[in-house]
């Protein structure tokens, strides 16, 4: 019931956001057919032919309605610039972005949570290093991290390729390792910091102190009480950051010249390529919604009380 309700809400959000994006594109200055001809002076007849071909002269609501009904039938339309079905365009780009986001998500989860726990459970040099590293990681913007990683590991040491997203599973991972690291770095830093704080709070909480006082072994206190309880705030923050990765991947895609959705979206916005922008916006919003839903489900798994609250 909970999942169905959430999915219905997501559909509503999708509709509203696609309408907003469509209106914004419509209101933005510049006309697509002028961009198509690349600043070249062509005859008004050619421009008129293009406008007609893509129904650019129809009123706003007619265009939105046409677009919406086509989408409901599974037709996302045709790209203005490439004269290609949008589905085809996205199919070519989606794997790169998905792999990139997945890799980055793994890095955030493993590196962020792992280091956060390590720093949280024990005071000492490791804690200081993680604390400093997370400040640094958070302060370094993604594009700078990308440049830095590229110049050290690709240009300097030659361990990784300088551009492209590769073909085949392992080649792809190899190509996307640095981009994913650059993308994950700021989020991993935040997650590590929050995990560390959460762990420390739980360590000092009454039930942990009580458990320790009752003579429960430290390892079990840590596993059952400290880590598990601290995962509640951490899972929220991990979820939000991972959902944000889809939108943030553009910077990294650009720096490493990857053929992902982000670069496609930016190009399409500049060219006022309605169909492409709409489709990517839907994917972004849906991705965000679904990841958030998964996080909430995970919440329930960590803390069963969350679910019962929803029922009542």
């Amino acid at each position: 019931m909970f999942v169905v309700r959430r999915l219905l809400a997501l559909v509503g959000v999708l509709f509203a956001s696609s309408f907003l994006v469509f209106s914004a594109m419509y209101a933005a200055p510049g006309s697509p057919e002028n961009f198509l001809v690349q600043g070249r002076t062509v005859t008004p007849e050619v421009l008129a032919a293009i406008r007609e071909q893509y129904s650019l002269d129809d009123p706003f609501f007619v265009r939105f309605w046409n677009w919406l009904t086509n989408v409901l039938q599974g037709d996302f339309g045709q790209s203005l610039t490439n004269r290609q079905p949008v589905g085809e365009l996205l199919a070519a780009r989606l794997p790169t972005t998905l792999t990139l986001v997945l890799l980055a998500a793994i890095i955030i989860a493993v590196l962020g949570i792992g280091l956060g726990i390590a720093a949280g459970v024990r005071d000492g040099i490791l804690d200081k290093v993680v604390l400093l590293g997370s400040s640094l990681g958070f302060a370094v913007p993604t594009f700078f991290a990308a440049l830095l990683l590229m110049s050290i590991f690709s240009v300097g040491l030659g361990w990784f390729p300088v551009f492209g997203s590769g073909e085949g599973f392992f080649d792809r991972i190899w190509h996307l390792a640095l981009p994913a690291l650059a993308l994950a770095l700021p989020s991993a830093a935040v997650v590590a910091r929050i995990t560390r704080t959460a762990i420390r709070e739980e360590r000092d909480s009454e039930h942990s102190v009580m458990a320790t006082a009752r003579g429960v072994p430290a390892r079990i206190v840590l596993k059952r009480h400290v880590v598990r309880n601290s995962m509640l705030p951490v899972s929220t923050i991990v979820g939000v950051h991972i959902a944000g990765l889809i939108a943030g991947s553009f910077v990294v895609e650009y720096a490493f010249t990857l053929d992902g959705l982000g670069t496609l979206l930016v190009g399409a916005v500049q060219r006022k390529d309605f169909a492409v922008v709409q489709a990517i916006a839907i994917i972004l919003v849906a991705g965000f919604g679904i990841i958030n839903l998964l996080v909430d489900l995970l919440y329930k798994a960590i803390d069963p009380r969350v679910g019962t609250k929803q029922e009542s």
């Binding site: 002028n34 001809v37 007849e45 400093l132 720096a255 010249t257 053929d259 916005v269 500049q270």
Partner: protein, 542 residues
Amino acid sequence: MKKKTVGALVVFTLALTGCASGTATPPPSVSRDDLLVTTPAAAGELDLATWNLPFGEPASLDPIKAFNYPENTVVANLCEGLMQLQPDYTIEPNLAEKVESPDASTYVYTIRQGVEFWDGETMTADDVLYSLNRQLDPDEGSYWAGGVVDNIESIEKTGDWEVTVTLVEPDSTFNSYMVTPIGTVVQQAFRENAGEAFGTPAGGVMCTGPYSLGEWDQGQSISLMRNDSYWNTERAAKTAEVVINFIVDSAAIANALNTGAIDGSYDVPLGALSTLQNSSEGSLLLGKSLQLVAIIGTGNGAFADPAVRQALMLATDREAIAATVFEGTAEASRSLIPADGWAYGADEFEAAREELAPTSVDIEAAKTALEAATVDITQPIKIVYPSERTYYADIISEIANGARAIGLTVEPEGIPSAQFGAFFSDPEAREGHDAFVTNNYMDVPDPLAFLRTIMGTGGSQNYNGYSNPEVDELLSAAAAASDEGERADILNDVQDIAMTDLPWIPIVDPSVRLFMNDRVTGVPASFVYLYYPWAADLGASE
């Protein structure tokens, strides 16, 4: 502590990427005589070479939609025209065996026999007729429609292997346009079957060139595969496969070229120059160009007054722009006709060019010129540029410096590229702005073809409504002149008027900035890569 670490990291990165300014080697200063036409011929064949398009991915490979750097650079290797532009800017018959022109209004093309499309079908005069006629069909939506195409009266098949083009007005430049997509031949049957998908990654194209279209991996690369049954065996491609990437970020381009991940690129971005000049992997070569960076007036504000434009040109240190913004890879513009922008009349053009005012700054002369101004010169002059291209801001700030010295105010106005494109086609977009920048190029090396778009009444690049009956007369006379020396003389008169009236202020003539890895060579260095199958000449250096 944190700050220090970051600081050390910054220094480290700069050292690694070689971005640090003030490096020991001074920028090369360009001298027109040193500019290259070709690179040393390839000594051997290659299985694979990689190239880059710094201006991004082509939107389509349909020749009639190819009217910009990315598209033309690729299409030039796939599809051929009736004529072909050579690296030294001469024009030679290609898919036409010969051309006869009884007068400047009639062009009779004898079509070459024995030419095959990639699929093995023979090219016929009907394919040629169909391809040329696509320009005239509004439903095909050719980006080349207008201008030269508008002047076509009829295209007819006048023999089994003969196609005749008749023009409305005589135009001696018409034949040179047969090197561009206007004269490019595609297979009729394939075009008709492909429908809307023609030219897209799904539909592809069918042409006769030295390379056929391989895999088009969108957002990443296009592969060109050698056409083993190419009709011109002397010009067969030396590399079996050329993969063309679309990296646009200048740091990424510098890295890819500097590590040898990509073998070469034409017109590498200015931001990549410092790295590439010192590269140990390959070398940066400067070639003869047909490009021009200029400021175009819209006919609004103080910039609409020719006296103001003259004063601005005299006060602007264009040599400094060439030396700093272009790091010595450009030359201050002496004329509105880009240096070496001619395929005929070299003696006449060279001589007249020498007579033009020098490119150095002359503040006194600028002040004198400004006295003739009849507009309100206290109003600021806003020059629009695409804000993503920051080097334009540097150029405009140098212009503003000069302007300040003579009491004018010039301000840069950055707008997104998407909007900027409309300045070239939409009068409404230009409304309320005084001037805008352009990185222009001559379609063909013919000053007539270039000047008439800028100065002819109603010309396609005439953005400030310039109209001078004397110029129109001279342009018509040049178009009708079949003697090339005579045509050059007439055009020199137009050039004189251009440098007085300055519909555009020419700033610099950028040379072709070609980077090649040491393992490859052979491609032309001159500005023919938009219409000449450059990749076919690419091969091993040893």
